[in-house]
Symmetry: C2
DNA sequence: TCAGCATCCGGAACACCGCTCCGTTTTGTC
DNA sequence: GACAAAACGGAGCGGTGTTCCGGATGCTGA
């Protein structure tokens, strides 16, 4: 194990020990609270659990989105890196695409309220939306392009709308046992496939 | 037009003039506020606009969902009644289905935050979810059944998950001009069509 | 070692919201 | 006109996000 990843911590600006200590405390408290109460949990509770004041939380993570991205950074990263790998390993690009969508869905579905937060119109989460997009949009685009180039899917689907659609379909799974987003996502992917050339393109 | 629909007003229980007057005032104020600020607007504002106290709003409409259903009742009704009509008029059941989904989408998309509210996990909206389902689920089921019987779509799709999926896909259109739910909904409907058996059933 | 100071901390404080409670007012009836 | 039932209004409570500032804390240099 190589001591420490070089760019693992995004901003080691602070030189003071207490600041770094608190940052870690907040981060691990946040992970615990998010896991039990979802990403909408009150900041007060996070601060209390971390044993710090609320201002300390806000100082290290100005917006709730910063908190979410910090907690799930590794998983976002893993999802992003899985894209090229799947593409290299799969027999057909479409298989890679479905596999990756599956990973993405798993990620969203297992974090309480994460999908909701992602599409929330609250500006509290705007940065979260942006971060997901920055990291995952290129990956999705590459998978889509590959599948389109192979003629497996129609070529007029934008990466953004696909990601957004998957995210939207994952909303509310926590609170409704009847709802299984994966079925609909499968349907969407079926719709993505280029239909056997009967004549013209779909309107 | 026959003077008045008999069961148009759901609960004319009250005999007092001021109560009825206030109910109307709240209703029209709510419509205005919802149109400008979305269905999440503070109750305080609605009460202020109606010129009544907050308790009056709560007395007539105990939950926010009651307010929403009261304001949009006619449109929900129109959407529900359009189902059978489309089915009777269309050449093929699938056309009726797409036409109806289109109406439903229009409805959700033109009301700020309505789609969000519908799938919200907040119990404040649970009754709203229920009302939509009570009224629209049978209609959707009839359309799906007809299309399935005609062999135009696969038969393993539940009405609930379809409605839910459409609703979910409409979330967040207000705040993101880049996002056009109708394209994805079209894709979903494409996926619904029974593909000319290329192999086995989709897993 | 220790003074000095930039940095960071904590929680009180403010604003906003949903919802309820209860003294007051209005309305219909006798 | 008087009376009781019904309805009203807004203060009040609990909860949340976010900010502000006096005080504590850790680094630095002599």
């Amino acid at each position: 194990m190589p001591t420490e990843s070089p760019a693992d911590e995004p901003s080691p600006r602070s030189t003071r020990a207490d600041a770094l200590r608190n940052r870690e405390a907040v981060l691990s408290a946040t992970a615990e609270v998010f896991a039990t109460s979802g990403v909408d949990a009150p900041i007060r509770r996070i601060a209390a659990r971390a044993g710090v004041g609320m201002a300390t939380v806000y100082r290290h993570f100005p917006t709730r989105a910063d908190l979410v991205t910090a907690v799930y950074r590794h998983q976002i990263e893993a999802c992003a890196q899985a894209g090229p790998r799947l593409l290299a390993d799969a027999d057909a690009p479409f298989d890679a695409l479905t596999g990756w969508i599956d990973l993405f869905t798993d990620f969203l579905v297992t974090k309480h309220g994460l999908a909701d937060a992602l599409q929330s119109d609250s500006e509290r989460f705007a940065a979260l939306h942006t971060h997901f997009l920055d990291r995952l949009l290129p990956v999705c685009a590459a998978l889509l392009d590959a599948a389109a180039d192979a003629g497996e899917i129609r070529a007029d689907v934008q990466p953004y709308e696909l990601l957004r659609g998957i995210g939207n379909l994952c909303i509310g799974r926590d609170t409704d046992p009847r709802y299984e987003p994966r079925r609909l996502i499968g349907l969407l992917l079926d719709g993505l496939r280029r239909e056997p050339p009967p004549g013209g393109g779909a309107a």
